[in-house]
Amino acid sequence: MEIRATYHKKLKGIQDDILAMGSMSSKAILNSIEALKYRNIEQAKQIIDNDVIINQKRFEIEEKCIELIATQQPMANDLRTIVAVLNIITELERIGDYALGISRIVIMIGDEPPLKPLIDVPRMAEKTVDMLRRSLEAFINHDAESAKQISAEDDLVDNLYDQVYRELLVFMMEDPKTITRATRLMWVAHNLERAADRVTNICERTVFVITGKMEEIGASKY
Protein backbone atom coordinates (compact mmCIF):
# COMPACT_ATOMS: atom_id res chain seq x y z
CA MET A 1 0.00 0.00 0.00
CA GLU A 2 1.37 3.38 -0.97
CA ILE A 3 1.08 5.46 2.17
CA ARG A 4 2.04 8.95 1.00
CA ALA A 5 0.07 8.98 -2.23
CA THR A 6 -0.68 12.72 -2.18
CA TYR A 7 2.97 13.66 -1.82
CA HIS A 8 4.10 11.20 -4.48
CA LYS A 9 1.49 12.58 -6.84
CA LYS A 10 3.01 16.03 -6.41
CA LEU A 11 6.48 14.65 -7.03
CA LYS A 12 5.24 12.94 -10.18
CA GLY A 13 3.64 16.24 -11.23
CA ILE A 14 7.02 17.94 -11.07
CA GLN A 15 8.51 15.25 -13.31
CA ASP A 16 5.71 15.85 -15.81
CA ASP A 17 6.54 19.56 -15.67
CA ILE A 18 10.15 18.71 -16.54
CA LEU A 19 8.99 16.90 -19.67
CA ALA A 20 6.82 19.86 -20.64
CA MET A 21 9.71 22.27 -20.13
CA GLY A 22 12.06 19.98 -22.07
CA SER A 23 9.64 20.01 -24.94
CA MET A 24 9.55 23.82 -24.88
CA SER A 25 13.36 24.07 -25.02
CA SER A 26 13.59 21.42 -27.79
CA LYS A 27 11.03 23.24 -29.87
CA ALA A 28 12.89 26.51 -29.41
CA ILE A 29 16.14 24.95 -30.71
CA LEU A 30 14.47 23.34 -33.74
CA ASN A 31 12.53 26.50 -34.56
CA SER A 32 15.64 28.65 -34.33
CA ILE A 33 17.39 26.46 -36.91
CA GLU A 34 14.31 26.54 -39.11
CA ALA A 35 14.32 30.34 -38.86
CA LEU A 36 18.00 30.27 -39.88
CA LYS A 37 17.36 27.96 -42.80
CA TYR A 38 14.50 30.02 -44.21
CA ARG A 39 15.79 33.45 -43.12
CA ASN A 40 12.59 33.87 -41.15
CA ILE A 41 13.12 37.00 -39.05
CA GLU A 42 9.54 36.90 -37.69
CA GLN A 43 10.00 33.36 -36.43
CA ALA A 44 13.29 34.36 -34.83
CA LYS A 45 11.60 37.27 -33.04
CA GLN A 46 8.88 34.92 -31.85
CA ILE A 47 11.47 32.57 -30.32
CA ILE A 48 13.08 35.49 -28.50
CA ASP A 49 9.68 36.57 -27.14
CA ASN A 50 8.80 33.03 -26.09
CA ASP A 51 11.99 32.60 -24.10
CA VAL A 52 10.30 34.36 -21.21
CA ILE A 53 7.74 31.53 -21.06
CA ILE A 54 10.54 28.98 -20.66
CA ASN A 55 12.08 31.12 -17.91
CA GLN A 56 8.73 31.36 -16.13
CA LYS A 57 8.28 27.60 -16.34
CA ARG A 58 11.67 27.18 -14.68
CA PHE A 59 10.65 29.46 -11.78
CA GLU A 60 7.32 27.68 -11.47
CA ILE A 61 9.02 24.27 -11.16
CA GLU A 62 11.62 25.69 -8.79
CA GLU A 63 8.89 27.00 -6.50
CA LYS A 64 7.17 23.62 -6.48
CA CYS A 65 10.46 21.95 -5.54
CA ILE A 66 11.08 24.42 -2.72
CA GLU A 67 7.57 23.86 -1.43
CA LEU A 68 8.03 20.07 -1.47
CA ILE A 69 11.34 20.35 0.37
CA ALA A 70 9.86 22.72 2.95
CA THR A 71 6.66 20.82 3.57
CA GLN A 72 7.18 17.15 2.75
CA GLN A 73 10.63 16.29 4.10
CA PRO A 74 11.70 14.30 1.02
CA MET A 75 14.29 11.61 1.73
CA ALA A 76 16.70 9.38 -0.19
CA ASN A 77 15.68 8.89 -3.84
CA ASP A 78 12.90 11.50 -3.57
CA LEU A 79 15.35 14.09 -2.22
CA ARG A 80 17.90 13.33 -4.94
CA THR A 81 15.15 13.58 -7.55
CA ILE A 82 14.13 17.04 -6.35
CA VAL A 83 17.75 18.21 -6.19
CA ALA A 84 18.25 16.82 -9.71
CA VAL A 85 15.13 18.61 -10.93
CA LEU A 86 16.48 21.89 -9.58
CA ASN A 87 19.63 21.33 -11.64
CA ILE A 88 17.88 20.06 -14.74
CA ILE A 89 15.58 23.05 -15.01
CA THR A 90 18.63 25.30 -15.03
CA GLU A 91 20.05 23.28 -17.92
CA LEU A 92 16.75 23.43 -19.81
CA GLU A 93 16.52 27.15 -19.26
CA ARG A 94 20.04 27.58 -20.64
CA ILE A 95 19.19 25.44 -23.67
CA GLY A 96 16.30 27.84 -24.26
CA ASP A 97 18.82 30.69 -24.06
CA TYR A 98 20.94 29.05 -26.76
CA ALA A 99 17.88 29.00 -29.02
CA LEU A 100 17.42 32.67 -28.21
CA GLY A 101 21.10 33.29 -29.08
CA ILE A 102 20.68 31.55 -32.43
CA SER A 103 17.56 33.61 -33.12
CA ARG A 104 19.49 36.83 -32.48
CA ILE A 105 22.10 35.67 -34.99
CA VAL A 106 19.29 34.99 -37.49
CA ILE A 107 18.16 38.59 -37.08
CA MET A 108 21.76 39.82 -37.52
CA ILE A 109 22.16 37.76 -40.69
CA GLY A 110 18.97 39.30 -42.04
CA ASP A 111 18.67 38.70 -45.74
CA GLU A 112 22.37 38.21 -46.45
CA PRO A 113 22.85 35.53 -49.11
CA PRO A 114 23.64 32.13 -47.58
CA LEU A 115 27.29 31.20 -47.47
CA LYS A 116 26.55 27.55 -48.17
CA PRO A 117 23.63 25.15 -47.92
CA LEU A 118 23.04 24.26 -44.27
CA ILE A 119 23.63 20.56 -43.71
CA ASP A 120 25.69 19.86 -40.63
CA VAL A 121 24.22 22.66 -38.49
CA PRO A 122 20.66 21.23 -38.74
CA ARG A 123 22.14 17.81 -38.07
CA MET A 124 23.71 19.14 -34.89
CA ALA A 125 20.35 20.59 -33.85
CA GLU A 126 18.47 17.38 -34.55
CA LYS A 127 21.03 15.29 -32.71
CA THR A 128 20.99 17.64 -29.72
CA VAL A 129 17.20 17.65 -29.51
CA ASP A 130 17.09 13.86 -29.87
CA MET A 131 19.61 13.52 -27.03
CA LEU A 132 17.61 15.98 -24.93
CA ARG A 133 14.34 14.12 -25.39
CA ARG A 134 15.92 10.76 -24.56
CA SER A 135 17.85 12.17 -21.59
CA LEU A 136 14.61 13.35 -20.01
CA GLU A 137 13.00 9.98 -20.67
CA ALA A 138 15.96 8.32 -18.96
CA PHE A 139 15.52 10.67 -16.02
CA ILE A 140 11.82 9.91 -15.68
CA ASN A 141 12.38 6.16 -16.13
CA HIS A 142 15.37 6.06 -13.76
CA ASP A 143 17.50 4.55 -16.51
CA ALA A 144 21.16 5.13 -15.68
CA GLU A 145 22.48 3.02 -18.53
CA SER A 146 20.64 5.05 -21.17
CA ALA A 147 21.73 8.25 -19.48
CA LYS A 148 25.38 7.22 -19.76
CA GLN A 149 24.96 6.18 -23.37
CA ILE A 150 23.23 9.44 -24.34
CA SER A 151 25.97 11.38 -22.64
CA ALA A 152 28.57 9.57 -24.74
CA GLU A 153 26.70 10.62 -27.89
CA ASP A 154 27.84 14.17 -27.22
CA ASP A 155 30.98 13.18 -29.18
CA LEU A 156 28.85 13.02 -32.33
CA VAL A 157 27.76 16.63 -31.84
CA ASP A 158 31.35 17.63 -31.10
CA ASN A 159 32.49 15.93 -34.31
CA LEU A 160 29.85 17.75 -36.32
CA TYR A 161 31.00 20.98 -34.72
CA ASP A 162 34.60 20.22 -35.75
CA GLN A 163 33.42 19.60 -39.27
CA VAL A 164 31.46 22.85 -39.45
CA TYR A 165 34.41 24.72 -37.95
CA ARG A 166 36.89 23.34 -40.48
CA GLU A 167 34.59 23.97 -43.39
CA LEU A 168 33.92 27.57 -42.39
CA LEU A 169 37.63 28.15 -41.80
CA VAL A 170 38.30 27.11 -45.39
CA PHE A 171 35.67 29.59 -46.60
CA MET A 172 37.29 32.37 -44.63
CA MET A 173 40.80 31.55 -45.82
CA GLU A 174 39.73 31.37 -49.44
CA ASP A 175 37.74 34.58 -49.34
CA PRO A 176 38.10 36.97 -46.39
CA LYS A 177 34.89 38.68 -47.49
CA THR A 178 33.02 35.70 -46.08
CA ILE A 179 34.49 36.15 -42.60
CA THR A 180 31.43 37.96 -41.15
CA ARG A 181 28.92 35.44 -42.49
CA ALA A 182 31.10 32.45 -41.58
CA THR A 183 31.68 33.73 -38.05
CA ARG A 184 27.94 34.05 -37.51
CA LEU A 185 27.38 30.47 -38.58
CA MET A 186 30.19 29.46 -36.25
CA TRP A 187 28.33 31.12 -33.38
CA VAL A 188 25.23 29.14 -34.27
CA ALA A 189 27.19 25.89 -34.25
CA HIS A 190 28.81 26.88 -30.98
CA ASN A 191 25.40 27.44 -29.38
CA LEU A 192 24.30 23.98 -30.47
CA GLU A 193 27.49 22.41 -29.18
CA ARG A 194 26.89 24.05 -25.80
CA ALA A 195 23.28 22.89 -25.77
CA ALA A 196 24.42 19.29 -26.24
CA ASP A 197 26.86 19.73 -23.34
CA ARG A 198 23.91 20.77 -21.18
CA VAL A 199 22.23 17.50 -22.10
CA THR A 200 25.23 15.60 -20.72
CA ASN A 201 24.72 17.48 -17.44
CA ILE A 202 21.12 16.26 -17.36
CA CYS A 203 22.42 12.70 -17.86
CA GLU A 204 24.85 13.17 -14.97
CA ARG A 205 21.98 14.20 -12.71
CA THR A 206 20.01 11.13 -13.75
CA VAL A 207 22.91 8.89 -12.77
CA PHE A 208 23.12 10.78 -9.46
CA VAL A 209 19.44 10.13 -8.73
CA ILE A 210 19.87 6.41 -9.32
CA THR A 211 23.29 5.73 -7.81
CA GLY A 212 23.60 8.59 -5.34
CA LYS A 213 27.04 9.32 -6.76
CA MET A 214 28.02 12.61 -8.32
CA GLU A 215 30.30 11.80 -11.21
CA GLU A 216 31.24 13.39 -14.48
CA ILE A 217 30.22 10.79 -17.02
CA GLY A 218 30.99 12.34 -20.38
CA ALA A 219 33.33 15.28 -20.30
CA SER A 220 33.01 17.22 -23.55
CA LYS A 221 36.23 17.96 -25.36
CA TYR A 222 35.14 21.61 -25.58
Binding site: I3, R4, A5, E67, A70, T71, Q72
Partner: protein, 274 residues
Protein backbone atom coordinates in the same frame (compact mmCIF):
# COMPACT_ATOMS: atom_id res chain seq x y z
CA UNK B 1 -28.34 29.04 -42.63
CA UNK B 2 -31.40 27.32 -41.24
CA UNK B 3 -32.11 27.74 -37.59
CA UNK B 4 -32.14 23.96 -37.19
CA UNK B 5 -28.56 23.68 -38.37
CA UNK B 6 -27.23 25.95 -35.67
CA UNK B 7 -25.03 24.15 -33.21
CA UNK B 8 -26.67 23.59 -29.83
CA UNK B 9 -26.03 26.51 -27.53
CA UNK B 10 -24.54 25.74 -24.15
CA UNK B 11 -27.12 26.10 -21.42
CA UNK B 12 -25.87 28.30 -18.63
CA UNK B 13 -26.01 26.31 -15.43
CA UNK B 14 -27.16 28.17 -12.36
CA UNK B 15 -24.19 28.56 -10.07
CA UNK B 16 -24.39 26.64 -6.81
CA UNK B 17 -24.18 28.90 -3.79
CA UNK B 18 -20.65 28.67 -2.44
CA UNK B 19 -19.99 29.39 1.19
CA UNK B 20 -16.45 30.71 1.25
CA UNK B 21 -16.05 30.37 4.99
CA UNK B 22 -16.91 27.32 7.07
CA UNK B 23 -15.63 28.58 10.39
CA UNK B 24 -14.90 32.15 11.38
CA UNK B 25 -13.64 33.53 14.64
CA UNK B 26 -14.06 37.18 15.44
CA UNK B 27 -11.94 38.78 18.10
CA UNK B 28 -11.98 35.75 20.39
CA UNK B 29 -10.86 36.18 23.97
CA UNK B 30 -10.87 33.16 26.27
CA UNK B 31 -10.50 33.37 30.04
CA UNK B 32 -10.02 30.62 32.59
CA UNK B 33 -11.06 32.54 35.68
CA UNK B 34 -8.81 35.62 35.72
CA UNK B 35 -6.24 34.07 33.41
CA UNK B 36 -6.55 35.09 29.78
CA UNK B 37 -5.68 32.11 27.55
CA UNK B 38 -6.49 33.62 24.14
CA UNK B 39 -6.57 37.20 22.94
CA UNK B 40 -8.08 38.73 19.83
CA UNK B 41 -8.02 35.64 17.62
CA UNK B 42 -9.44 36.30 14.16
CA UNK B 43 -9.37 33.59 11.54
CA UNK B 44 -11.44 32.27 8.67
CA UNK B 45 -11.40 28.62 7.66
CA UNK B 46 -12.51 27.63 4.18
CA UNK B 47 -14.63 24.51 3.62
CA UNK B 48 -13.00 21.25 2.55
CA UNK B 49 -9.53 22.22 3.64
CA UNK B 50 -7.05 21.26 6.33
CA UNK B 51 -5.97 24.00 8.72
CA UNK B 52 -3.12 23.29 11.10
CA UNK B 53 -2.59 25.24 14.30
CA UNK B 54 1.02 25.21 15.47
CA UNK B 55 2.96 26.92 18.20
CA UNK B 56 4.91 26.31 21.40
CA UNK B 57 3.37 24.49 24.36
CA UNK B 58 0.85 26.50 26.29
CA UNK B 59 0.17 29.01 23.51
CA UNK B 60 -3.55 28.19 23.41
CA UNK B 61 -3.74 25.90 20.35
CA UNK B 62 -5.91 23.26 22.00
CA UNK B 63 -7.96 25.91 23.79
CA UNK B 64 -8.80 27.47 20.44
CA UNK B 65 -9.61 24.10 18.87
CA UNK B 66 -11.95 23.21 21.72
CA UNK B 67 -13.87 26.43 21.22
CA UNK B 68 -15.00 25.21 17.80
CA UNK B 69 -17.33 22.62 19.30
CA UNK B 70 -17.73 24.26 22.71
CA UNK B 71 -15.79 21.67 24.66
CA UNK B 72 -14.62 24.50 26.89
CA UNK B 73 -18.19 24.75 28.17
CA UNK B 74 -17.29 21.80 30.38
CA UNK B 75 -14.51 23.71 32.12
CA UNK B 76 -15.66 25.66 35.17
CA UNK B 77 -14.80 29.39 35.08
CA UNK B 78 -14.10 29.31 31.33
CA UNK B 79 -15.47 32.43 29.66
CA UNK B 80 -15.50 33.29 25.95
CA UNK B 81 -15.77 36.72 24.39
CA UNK B 82 -16.19 37.35 20.68
CA UNK B 83 -17.88 35.27 18.04
CA UNK B 84 -17.30 31.90 16.40
CA UNK B 85 -19.45 31.29 13.36
CA UNK B 86 -20.18 27.97 11.70
CA UNK B 87 -21.66 28.65 8.26
CA UNK B 88 -22.33 32.21 9.38
CA UNK B 89 -24.16 31.31 12.61
CA UNK B 90 -22.62 32.18 15.97
CA UNK B 91 -22.21 28.88 17.84
CA UNK B 92 -22.13 30.70 21.18
CA UNK B 93 -25.71 31.93 20.80
CA UNK B 94 -27.99 30.77 23.60
CA UNK B 95 -30.30 29.09 21.08
CA UNK B 96 -27.62 26.72 19.80
CA UNK B 97 -28.14 23.04 20.62
CA UNK B 98 -24.69 21.89 21.73
CA UNK B 99 -25.41 18.22 21.01
CA UNK B 100 -26.36 19.12 17.45
CA UNK B 101 -23.27 21.34 17.18
CA UNK B 102 -20.97 18.49 18.27
CA UNK B 103 -22.61 16.24 15.70
CA UNK B 104 -21.69 18.76 13.02
CA UNK B 105 -18.26 19.43 14.50
CA UNK B 106 -16.62 16.17 15.57
CA UNK B 107 -13.45 15.74 17.56
CA UNK B 108 -10.57 13.24 17.44
CA UNK B 109 -8.33 13.25 20.49
CA UNK B 110 -4.66 12.73 21.11
CA UNK B 111 -4.94 9.24 22.52
CA UNK B 112 -7.08 6.77 20.60
CA UNK B 113 -10.12 6.29 22.79
CA UNK B 114 -12.29 3.52 21.37
CA UNK B 115 -15.17 2.45 23.60
CA UNK B 116 -14.62 -0.95 25.28
CA UNK B 117 -16.97 -2.68 22.89
CA UNK B 118 -16.86 -4.24 19.43
CA UNK B 119 -15.59 -2.41 16.36
CA UNK B 120 -19.13 -2.47 14.96
CA UNK B 121 -20.69 -1.09 18.14
CA UNK B 122 -18.11 1.71 18.31
CA UNK B 123 -19.24 2.91 14.89
CA UNK B 124 -22.99 2.60 15.41
CA UNK B 125 -22.89 4.21 18.85
CA UNK B 126 -23.29 7.74 17.52
CA UNK B 127 -26.01 7.04 14.92
CA UNK B 128 -27.96 5.06 17.57
CA UNK B 129 -27.69 7.96 20.01
CA UNK B 130 -29.18 10.14 17.29
CA UNK B 131 -32.10 7.71 16.94
CA UNK B 132 -31.10 5.45 14.07
CA UNK B 133 -31.94 1.82 14.91
CA UNK B 134 -32.38 0.44 11.40
CA UNK B 135 -29.96 -2.52 11.16
CA UNK B 136 -29.57 -2.43 7.39
CA UNK B 137 -28.80 1.29 7.51
CA UNK B 138 -26.38 0.86 10.39
CA UNK B 139 -24.57 -1.90 8.47
CA UNK B 140 -24.23 0.44 5.52
CA UNK B 141 -22.90 3.23 7.73
CA UNK B 142 -20.32 0.89 9.28
CA UNK B 143 -18.97 -0.20 5.91
CA UNK B 144 -19.04 3.32 4.46
CA UNK B 145 -17.19 5.05 7.27
CA UNK B 146 -14.67 2.24 7.74
CA UNK B 147 -13.90 2.50 4.04
CA UNK B 148 -13.59 6.28 4.34
CA UNK B 149 -11.21 5.79 7.24
CA UNK B 150 -9.15 3.30 5.18
CA UNK B 151 -9.77 0.62 7.79
CA UNK B 152 -12.39 -1.60 6.15
CA UNK B 153 -10.01 -4.06 4.53
CA UNK B 154 -8.19 -4.59 7.80
CA UNK B 155 -11.25 -5.16 10.02
CA UNK B 156 -14.10 -6.33 7.77
CA UNK B 157 -13.77 -9.93 9.02
CA UNK B 158 -13.65 -9.03 12.71
CA UNK B 159 -16.29 -6.37 13.18
CA UNK B 160 -17.62 -8.11 16.29
CA UNK B 161 -14.22 -8.26 17.97
CA UNK B 162 -13.26 -5.80 20.66
CA UNK B 163 -11.93 -2.51 19.34
CA UNK B 164 -9.33 -2.62 22.09
CA UNK B 165 -7.55 -5.46 20.24
CA UNK B 166 -6.66 -3.17 17.34
CA UNK B 167 -3.23 -1.52 17.04
CA UNK B 168 -2.85 2.11 18.09
CA UNK B 169 -2.98 3.35 14.50
CA UNK B 170 -6.03 1.23 13.74
CA UNK B 171 -7.74 2.44 16.92
CA UNK B 172 -7.17 6.05 15.88
CA UNK B 173 -8.60 5.38 12.41
CA UNK B 174 -11.56 3.71 14.14
CA UNK B 175 -12.04 6.87 16.20
CA UNK B 176 -12.02 8.90 12.99
CA UNK B 177 -14.56 6.47 11.48
CA UNK B 178 -16.68 6.89 14.61
CA UNK B 179 -16.67 10.65 14.13
CA UNK B 180 -17.63 10.19 10.46
CA UNK B 181 -20.58 7.94 11.40
CA UNK B 182 -22.71 10.91 12.46
CA UNK B 183 -21.94 12.76 9.22
CA UNK B 184 -20.10 15.79 10.61
CA UNK B 185 -19.08 18.78 8.52
CA UNK B 186 -16.01 19.72 10.49
CA UNK B 187 -13.49 17.38 12.12
CA UNK B 188 -11.28 18.75 14.87
CA UNK B 189 -8.11 16.81 15.61
CA UNK B 190 -6.08 17.43 18.73
CA UNK B 191 -2.62 15.91 18.26
CA UNK B 192 -4.16 12.86 16.55
CA UNK B 193 -0.84 11.18 15.83
CA UNK B 194 1.26 11.92 18.88
CA UNK B 195 0.67 8.43 20.31
CA UNK B 196 1.37 6.66 17.00
CA UNK B 197 4.44 5.29 15.24
CA UNK B 198 5.72 7.00 12.06
CA UNK B 199 4.01 4.67 9.59
CA UNK B 200 0.65 4.85 11.39
CA UNK B 201 1.13 8.63 11.47
CA UNK B 202 1.65 8.81 7.70
CA UNK B 203 -1.44 6.64 7.18
CA UNK B 204 -3.56 9.02 9.26
CA UNK B 205 -2.13 11.98 7.35
CA UNK B 206 -2.99 10.42 4.01
CA UNK B 207 -6.45 9.65 5.36
CA UNK B 208 -6.81 13.31 6.34
CA UNK B 209 -5.92 14.37 2.80
CA UNK B 210 -8.63 12.16 1.34
CA UNK B 211 -11.19 13.28 3.96
CA UNK B 212 -10.44 16.91 3.16
CA UNK B 213 -12.23 16.43 -0.16
CA UNK B 214 -15.52 16.34 1.77
CA UNK B 215 -14.83 17.64 5.26
CA UNK B 216 -13.28 20.69 6.85
CA UNK B 217 -10.45 19.62 9.12
CA UNK B 218 -8.71 21.63 11.82
CA UNK B 219 -5.71 19.99 13.44
CA UNK B 220 -3.59 21.00 16.39
CA UNK B 221 -0.13 19.52 16.28
CA UNK B 222 3.17 19.86 18.07
CA UNK B 223 4.77 18.26 15.09
CA UNK B 224 5.63 21.13 12.79
CA UNK B 225 6.64 18.78 9.98
CA UNK B 226 3.24 17.16 10.18
CA UNK B 227 1.54 20.53 9.85
CA UNK B 228 3.73 21.23 6.82
CA UNK B 229 3.00 17.87 5.21
CA UNK B 230 -0.70 17.71 5.66
CA UNK B 231 -2.29 21.15 5.81
CA UNK B 232 -3.47 23.70 3.27
CA UNK B 233 -3.46 26.60 5.73
CA UNK B 234 -1.34 27.03 8.83
CA UNK B 235 -1.85 29.22 11.86
CA UNK B 236 1.08 30.04 14.10
CA UNK B 237 0.21 30.97 17.68
CA UNK B 238 2.38 32.04 20.56
CA UNK B 239 2.09 33.51 24.00
CA UNK B 240 2.28 37.24 24.45
CA UNK B 241 4.45 38.42 27.39
CA UNK B 242 1.37 38.36 29.65
CA UNK B 243 0.90 34.68 28.63
CA UNK B 244 -2.28 35.21 26.61
CA UNK B 245 -2.21 33.16 23.40
CA UNK B 246 -2.37 35.16 20.20
CA UNK B 247 -2.49 34.34 16.52
CA UNK B 248 0.77 35.60 15.06
CA UNK B 249 0.39 34.53 11.46
CA UNK B 250 -2.20 32.70 9.42
CA UNK B 251 -1.52 31.93 5.79
CA UNK B 252 -1.20 29.21 3.18
CA UNK B 253 1.01 26.43 4.51
CA UNK B 254 3.41 26.76 1.58
CA UNK B 255 3.94 30.43 2.48
CA UNK B 256 4.29 29.83 6.20
CA UNK B 257 7.01 27.23 5.63
CA UNK B 258 8.90 28.89 2.79
CA UNK B 259 8.48 32.60 3.35
CA UNK B 260 6.68 33.56 6.57
CA UNK B 261 5.90 37.22 6.95
CA UNK B 262 6.41 37.52 10.70
CA UNK B 263 9.89 37.21 12.19
CA UNK B 264 8.48 35.25 15.15
CA UNK B 265 7.06 32.61 12.80
CA UNK B 266 10.39 32.39 10.99
CA UNK B 267 12.26 32.00 14.29
CA UNK B 268 9.87 29.28 15.46
CA UNK B 269 9.87 27.17 12.31
CA UNK B 270 13.64 27.44 11.93
CA UNK B 271 14.16 26.34 15.52
CA UNK B 272 15.51 29.65 16.81
CA UNK B 273 13.08 29.61 19.67
CA UNK B 274 10.37 27.34 20.92
Amino acid sequence: MKINSLPPQPVKQPEAPVCETKLRTENINLFYGKFQALRGVNMEITPCSITAIIGPSGCGKSSLLRLFNRLNDLIPNARVEGKIELDGVNIYERTIDVVELRKRVGMVFQKPNPFPMSIYDNIVFGPKQHGNNNHAELDKIVEKVLRQAALWDEVKDKLQQSALNLSGGQQQRLCIARVLSVEPEVILMDEPCSALDPIATLKIEELMRSLAENYTIVIVTHNMQQAARVSDMAAFMMMAPDRAGELVEYDETSHIFTNPKDKRTEDYITGRFG
